[in-house]
């Protein structure tokens, strides 16, 4: 027989003002199974907790109900106290008579009746509570970082510097991401390559970092502390161990006119290539779609000239399995497609601005490549159409961003600043040129940011026009830009030589597919969701997975780096323990009842339900039943409500407990 102790808290006067706590204690004291009931001014205070502990020991209590504030407030406190007194913490429940009663009702009689019923309900529930063991799982102290942009690089270096192995997986042939493409960076105008490449080299040389480039995540299994990740390493056609990075192959390759994606397709590369000279690793890859050997079976020049014999046309994709305990997702962003309406996307393009049709209408990233000293024009601002220097240049901000009618309502955050930067770089390079900017607002919060923006107007003579562009068309070799200046209330028309569109920052294409493999959630734009917008900004709701950089939302470099270091710190917190403790609210299968329909497996969003074979002594298969992996189960209970034979139960929320509560009412 249970000996239940009930403790009613006054919460100063927060509860006792409307609830007659003494009467509640008296009433519930009469319930069968309750052997002790009392009220106290502050249950959560030290004396309150001592009262609880003392009563457990003296009265030999077996189950506890604390009627006080919300369990979201103090459940942990009281469960700890109960544990200290020698009871299993899960034999203690809280009855919420503050947030759900005394604070929302004024009538003392009504509130007292309701409080008595709430406590009665919890008394019936706690009778059915079972001892639950704390679940511990071991932690594999290795980490996976997905994406080798500045976010992934920073997180990988931080974790590796703490002495833990990191597996860094990058989809492209080189790490670096978008930052490697940038020319100079706001707000200080330091050269992106100069601050980026040393970090890339650090990654390559770090004894604790294992780098997989030209690779993708194929499959993620397991759970916090214990993930199994299958990585697909695509065939480079060059043996990384043999290649010395001399680059002879690239000088001899006859296919020289392939648009280089790294240069936003305005520069050209060969079929065997590294995307940019400072690439890490410096091992070329053969682009099989454009290689003569793969297309016709002839050529093979690179193989002939390669001294160490590294070129391997037969190389195959490889699947590699790595065990890790934590995952940092740092897959970054992509830019809004302005050519046309992207297929299968709710987002409308900006075909009306002629991008893709008028060669001298480019996007911001293309401008970065033009302005980059190591870019296709050697840092000169030249028109893609005829190589002439543009003397009048128009920048248009908020292309795609903050345009609900186009499908995106958010602000891309970096465009105001990089457009200001572009006007400066332009002015530094084309002294007699004039830059115009069409903008809605200038959003420049951040250290030294507004000063930077002002400098573009006050010192670098950019003309800012508040308003949007209504029309844009080619006229001879000019581009006519028509818009309105809403500050002055006049129509403006500019004959420009070049137009730069500040296109919206969007998640990577296919970001949702990776999220589905990882079991993390994403918002309606496919940016990955953090567990809590304010208090848990780098953790995913899925335990053991962390976010860094622009994959979570538009970000500039300083913010990206901060978040990456924060994610690394979270990984280190996890790795500081050998074993993980977690709440034992997990589902369990009653094998005798399970009919093996696996309806539970279908509804479990975490992949926690596995198939388990039951065999007799001779090894004959009797049946296959469901098995819930307690390390993976998140404890939602969807499987239980789904199971047609009622064979799976969520500890802490069993049918017995729920029915007991309903019956108490």
């Amino acid at each position: 027989m249970s000996r239940i102790g009930v403790f009613i808290c006054h919460c100063g006067e927060n509860i006792s003002r409307t609830v007659d706590v003494e009467r509640v204690a008296l009433e519930v004291g009469k319930l069968p199974g309750v052997s002790f009931s009392t009220d106290y001014k502050y249950m959560c205070s030290d004396p309150g907790q001592n009262l609880l502990k003392k009563a457990i020991q003296e009265q030999k209590l077996t189950h506890i109900v604390v009627a006080a504030c919300s369990p979201r407030m103090h459940e942990k406190t009281f469960r700890k106290a109960v544990e200290a007194a020698g009871l299993n913490p899960y034999l203690c429940e809280m009855a919420n008579i503050r947030e759900h009663c005394s604070w929302v009702h004024e009538n003392r009689e009504e509130a007292t009746v309701k409080a008595t019923e709430i406590v009665g309900m919890m008394v019936e529930r706690v009778k059915k509570n079972r001892v639950l063991p704390t679940i511990t799982v071991p932690v594999t102290k290795r980490s996976l970082v997905i994406g080798g942009g500045i976010a992934g690089i920073q997180a990988a270096l931080d974790i590796a510097d703490c002495g833990h192995e990191v597996i860094l997986v990058e989809r492209e042939p080189s790490i670096g991401g978008h930052m490697a493409q940038l020319s100079e960076t706001f707000p200080t105008l330091d050269c992106s390559q100069c601050i980026m490449t040393p970090k890339m080299v650090d990654v390559a040389n770090h004894p604790k970092i294992k780098l997989y480039t030209y690779s993708e995540i194929e499959l993620v299994e397991g759970y916090i502390g214990n993930f199994q990740v299958t990585i697909k390493k695509r065939a480079r056609s060059v043996d990384e161990d043999k290649c010395t990075g001399c680059g002879v192959c690239m000088t001899k390759c006859p296919q020289k006119k392939i648009p280089n994606k790294f240069d936003q397709n305005i520069g050209m590369r060969t079929a065997i290539y590294v995307p940019f000279p400072q690439a890490v690793p410096n091992t070329p890859v053969i682009d099989r779609d454009n290689c003569t050997w793969y297309k016709t079976g002839k050529c093979g020049v690179c193989q002939k000239v390669c001294g160490p014999g590294a070129v391997d046309f037969e190389q195959q994709d490889k699947l590699i399995v790595e065990a890790v305990g934590a995952i940092v997702v740092a897959t970054g962003f992509d830019l809004y497609s302005i050519d046309e309406k992207p297929k299968g996307s709710p987002i409308k393009g900006y075909g009306e601005f002629g991008h893709g049709k008028i060669p001298d209408v480019i996007d911001g990233m293309t401008f970065e490549r033009l302005a980059s000293a190591s870019g296709p024009t050697g840092g000169k601002i030249l028109r893609p159409s005829d190589g002439k220097e543009p003397k009048q240049i128009v920048f248009i901000q908020c292309i795609g961003s903050r345009a609900r009618e186009k499908g995106i309502s958010y602000c891309s955050k970096v465009c105001c600043m990089y457009t200001a930067k572009h006007t400066m770089l332009y002015h530094h390079k084309v002294h007699d040129g004039q830059a115009y900017v069409f903008f809605m607002d200038a959003r420049t919060p951040g250290k030294s940011y507004d000063e930077f923006w002002r400098r573009s107007i006050e010192e670098e003579e950019a003309v800012y026009i508040r308003g949007m562009v209504s029309r844009l068309y080619q006229k001879g070799d000019k581009i006519v830009v028509m818009g309105s200046d809403i500050a002055v209330g006049v129509q403006v028309e500019i004959e420009a030589d070049m137009v730069v569109l500040a296109t919206a920052v969007q998640p990577q294409k296919g970001a949702e597919l990776l999220a589905q493999k990882l079991g993390i959630s994403y918002d309606k734009y496919n940016f990955y969701s953090e567990a809590h917008a304010k208090l848990r900004p780098v953790e995913c709701a899925t335990a053991g997975i962390y976010l860094a950089g622009a994959c979570q939302g538009p970000k500039d470099i300083p913010e990206t780096v901060s978040q990456a270091s924060a994610a690394a710190a979270k990984v280190m917190t996890l790795f500081s323990k050998d074993q993980l403790e977690r709440e034992p609210i997990v589902a369990r299968v009653k094998e005798s009842g399970c009919v093996g329909c696996f309806a539970c497996k279908k509804v479990c969003a975490y992949g926690a339900v596995e198939e388990k074979e039951i065999r007799d002594r001779q090894g004959n298969l009797i049946k296959t039943v469901a098995f819930v992996n307690p390390g993976v189960c998140a404890g939602c209970g969807t499987c239980q409500a789904t199971c047609p034979s009622k064979s799976v139960e969520l500890d802490g929320y069993t049918d017995e407990q729920v029915i007991a509560m309903i019956e108490a009412l």
Partner: protein, 166 residues
């Protein structure tokens, strides 16, 4: 079946099944903001609306609830990724069943209340209480509960008709 005429001195019993992450937290917020609402509601907390078995709703009606509220996170905001979608699908089917067995669907309310929507919680609870108060007590299931025990004490014309049809 007899229906009690709506009366104003009748106070309905409302049972709310809510998820802990959104609606329970929303109800807490209503409390910390000291909003006021009728005291008729009793809240049962679940990790997720995905855990709420339709049987609980039947059981609640059987135990004398006059109205039942099921509330969780907004679609897309589920703490457990998709539990509320499974719940929504399940309850869409379940409503049809309830309707078929003759429960007035106005007694069963589904809603999304997020952790930030203390005001919406107050609104939902108040509306349901007012609505059910006007409808009067729920009698159908209490009778069925006894019928389940084969007491033989009840014989409504509807039941008689059902027997005759077999």
């Amino acid at each position: 079946m007899k229906h009690t005429a709506p009366t104003h001195d009748f106070e309905p019993k409302i049972i709310a099944f809510v998820c802990t992450w959104c609606t329970y937290a929303g109800a807490d917020l209503a409390g910390t903001s000291r909003m006021q609402y009728p005291s008729n509601v009793r809240v049962l907390k679940f990790p997720c609306t995905g855990r709420i078995d339709p049987v609980f709703i039947l059981k609640a009606f059987q135990q004398g609830a006059d109205g039942v509220l099921v509330s969780g996170c907004h679609p897309g905001d589920c703490h457990y990724i998709a539990g509320n979608f499974h719940a929504r699908r399940r309850f869409a089917v379940f409503r049809k069943l309830l309707e078929f067995i003759g429960v007035d669907l106005k007694r069963l309310q589904f809603s999304w209340v997020s952790a930030a929507e203390g005001g919406k919680w107050v609104e939902v609870v108040t509306d349901l209480t007012v609505k059910v108060r006007a409808m009067g007590p729920m009698t159908e299931f209490k009778e069925l509960a006894m019928e389940e025990q084969w007491s033989g004490a009840i014989n409504t014309p509807e039941l008689q008709e059902a027997y005759n049809a077999i």
